[in-house]
């Protein structure tokens, strides 16, 4: 006997007998989901609450509503500049990581070369090296090239650290594109580059979005490199700015929360709009085909 698969959304929460709600099913499905929702939403609510209520208020609702904390962090504490810096650095990291990951990932997926497995192993092993361990060598290299206190140092460091994983992910996406499509294009007269641009690249859109999103978020959240490589407040990024709301003995919770909201907005937007690609990206190459 076979059972037809029924989409989750098509299953009713009402019993088969009639219109009575299926309480058991509601309890099994929706209660855990509701609990999980509370678990994930409450921290965000708490952050918004502190950001939107006046300092010293203990109200559980953001009332009276105030935007003074946003004004403090955006204008008073320099988050306007930090935000712009973070956007620039994250976007350029995204661009570099995606570009090089496309080239590297394509090569890994389509060519066989001596030491390929060793190279893949090396790419994986780079993920085990913590950024803090590379700090002094990176610092010395950047100093030699006069890149300390330059946004370039962050972009280069972030690109370097993110590229191995991005290449592995991208090679998984490329492998999912049938090689016959490229071969057909080449039979029709395209060169390899033209075949890649005209045939493979459009099909890699989910991979590009996934890899780019990971690169953006990784760069956006990076704290250590920004703290170490940038000294000028005019060049600093949002994570370092957030840290300055916490003094040794004093924490400006309103500013911290408002800064947290500012820091979270791009990440939430990225997750909201490209979530499905991210899931694909994480599982790319997971199934042997």
């Amino acid at each position: 006997m076979t059972t037809a698969a029924v989409p989750l959304s098509a299953k009713s929460t009402r019993s088969a007998a009639g219109g009575r709600p299926d309480l058991g099913r509601i309890g099994r499905l929706f209660l855990p989901l509701a609990l999980y929702l509370v678990f994930t939403v409450v921290p965000f609510y708490w952050m918004l609450l502190f950001a939107l209520r006046p300092a010293g208020s203990t109200s559980l609702l953001p009332w009276p509503l105030t935007f003074e904390h946003f004004d403090t962090v955006w204008n008073g504490m320099g988050f306007r500049v930090y935000f712009q810096n973070s956007v620039w650095i994250a976007l350029l990291t995204l661009l570099f990581v995606t570009f090089f990951a496309l080239m590297g990932g394509y090569a890994l997926a389509r060519f066989r070369f001596r030491g390929q497995k060793l190279f893949l192993l090396a790419l994986l092993c780079t993920q085990f090296v913590p950024g803090a361990m590379m700090l002094i060598p990176l610092f010395n290299i950047f100093q030699a090239f006069d890149l300390i206190n330059s946004r370039w140092s962050l972009i280069i460091a972030e690109t370097t650290f993110q590229l191995p994983l991005a290449m592995i992910l991208m090679s998984g996406f490329v492998k999912n594109v049938p090689v016959e499509l490229e071969e057909s294009a080449m039979v029709d007269g395209c060169g390899r580059i033209r075949a890649f641009l005209a045939v493979v690249l459009p099909l890699l859109r989910p991979g590009i979005v996934a890899v780019g999103s990971f690169a953006f978020i990784g760069s956006w959240n990076n704290f250590l490199f920004a703290l170490m490589f940038l000294n000028d407040p005019e060049l600093q990024t949002v994570p370092v700015g957030l840290q300055t709301t916490i003094g040794e003995n004093t924490v400006d919770f309103g500013a911290l929360a408002a800064g947290g909201v500012v820091a979270a907005v791009p990440v939430v937007l990225v997750f909201a709009f490209v979530q499905k690609y991210l899931v694909q990206g994480m599982s790319a190459g997971a199934v042997k085909g």
């Binding site: 570009f99 040794e248 003995n249």
Partner: protein
């Protein structure tokens, strides 16, 4: 051109925008006779950064040829930032340096000795002698590598209103304090008389309580053996541990300063041991309901474990040391030092500020300052010059103190472990440095 090629061309054009991310240079510079001095604040945050910005504005107005570039570094990250900068030769001209950081910086030979500069300065003779002594001791007694700006002191904040309601006098001895804590404890109302720091920072705190009780004048005897395991210190540690869960909340075993302060502000505890650094927090939260007292004494009299002194260091790599020193002199001048310490609630290093009105009316800050600067008070120097100091007082002592609170380690064992580690570290230090 195909659409794909156009896309690729657009991406390459976007690379052209990378020029927007060019280097802005670093460190100090001279431009048309103007000198830029880079200053790293070692404890940037919402309370201090605006004060420094004000002082820098004032300095630049008075010295139009010098520009000061402020870089805020938070206290939790400053050691790593300095160490990286030293390793790569990119230190600032001037940096905020507490005595806790001093040993590491002087060991790496990153700072300029300030003895001669101070001797020739208008500040000579105007800085607290005890703070200068603490600064010198913190760098191993080999000279002055920190220009002190603020003294801190351990104090106990207490709910003056609750004490008054219960008719309790301000305790002068530890036994009186424990008795007051017991009277103010009402577990049914989730109200406790005292709170113990069991989490981060507990190592220094319990030692400062122990020495205030024992009255010992030094952390080492003449032979270089640590006095931490002196029976009088052990006695107080045992008394503190006995308060756990009786007059203190159970959560104290892992509580650090923020949690302790939150309990104090939420009426859950009536006394909290911290230091002058929290003056602004407690006053803002509780106003006149809160007052401060110095640590009580024990049967043998009282001593004070010197708190970290905050101040400034002049870095060897600085290309504009004259301008940098001028900036330091300005920061420690009477007006600047008074402004700074009034706002952070700490003890001024510049003794001329002691005549200022705000200081005379500051209550606990003046009390702590008087004690710190009194020749009669035994000021015990913690051995921050030892490279292992943080490991001993934090990494090793803090989990052990939690064991003491939980009854898994005796106070004597705890004190002996700390003492043995200090003795060995001091012996190693002497063997290496003479």
């Amino acid at each position: 051109m195909s659409r794909s090629l156009r896309t690729a061309a657009a991406a390459l054009a976007a690379l052209g925008l990378l020029t927007a991310c060019g280097s802005s240079g670093s460190g100090s510079s001279a431009d048309g006779g103007k000198v830029t001095v880079t200053f790293w604040d070692n404890n940037a945050g919402p309370a201090r950064t605006p004060l420094f910005q004000h002082l820098i504005d004032e300095f630049e107005k008075a010295n139009p040829t010098i520009t000061v570039k402020y870089v805020g570094v938070t206290s939790s990250e400053v050691a790593e930032k300095y160490n990286t900068a030293i390793a790569s030769g990119s230190t600032p001209d001037v940096g905020g340096v507490t005595t806790a950081l001093l040993a590491s910086l002087t060991a790496q030979k990153a700072l300029v000795p300030l003895d001669e500069l101070l001797a020739k300065s208008a500040l000579n003779g105007k800085l607290s002698a005890n703070m200068l002594e603490t600064s010198k001791a913190a760098s191993g007694g080999k000279g002055l590598y920190q220009l002190p700006s603020s003294g801190n002191q351990d104090v106990i904040w207490y709910r003056a209103d609750k004490f008054k309601e219960a008719g309790i006098e301000v305790p002068k001895t530890w036994d009186e304090l424990f008795a007051a804590a017991a009277r103010l404890t009402d577990k049914s109302k989730n109200q406790y008389g005292f709170t113990i720091r069991g989490g981060s920072g507990s190592g220094f705190q319990v030692l400062s309580e122990a020495y205030a009780y024992s009255g010992l004048a030094s952390m080492f005897d003449a032979a270089g053996k640590s006095t931490v395991d002196d029976p009088r210190n052990v006695e107080l540690i045992a008394k503190i541990a006995a308060q756990f869960k009786n007059t203190t909340p159970e959560a104290d075993v892992s509580n650090a300063y923020p949690q302790m302060l939150a309990q104090f502000q939420a009426n859950q505890v009536m006394m909290v041991h911290h230091n002058l650094g929290s003056t602004k927090d407690v006053r803002t939260a509780l106003g006149d309901k809160v007052a401060g007292m110095l640590l009580p004494s024990g049967p043998s009299g009282s001593s004070i474990l010197a708190n970290p002194v905050d101040g400034f260091g002049l870095f060897k790599n600085s290309k504009h040391q004259d301008a940098a020193w001028k900036f330091l002199e300005f920061l420690d001048s009477h007006a600047s030092n008074s402004y700074w310490n009034e706002n952070v609630g700490q003890i001024p290093a510049n003794t001329e500020a002691y005549a200022d009105d705000w200081y005379a009316r500051s209550g606990i800050t003046k009390q702590a300052g008087d004690a710190l600067n009194s020749p009669a008070v035994k000021l015990v120097q913690p051995p921050v010059h030892l490279p292992q100091y943080s490991k001993i007082t934090k990494t090793d002592a803090e989990p052990n103190f939690q064991k003491v609170l939980l009854g898994k380690m005796s106070p004597a064992e705890f004190a002996k472990a700390v003492a043995d580690a200090f003795t060995k570290a001091q012996s190693d230090y002497r063997a290496k440095n003479g």
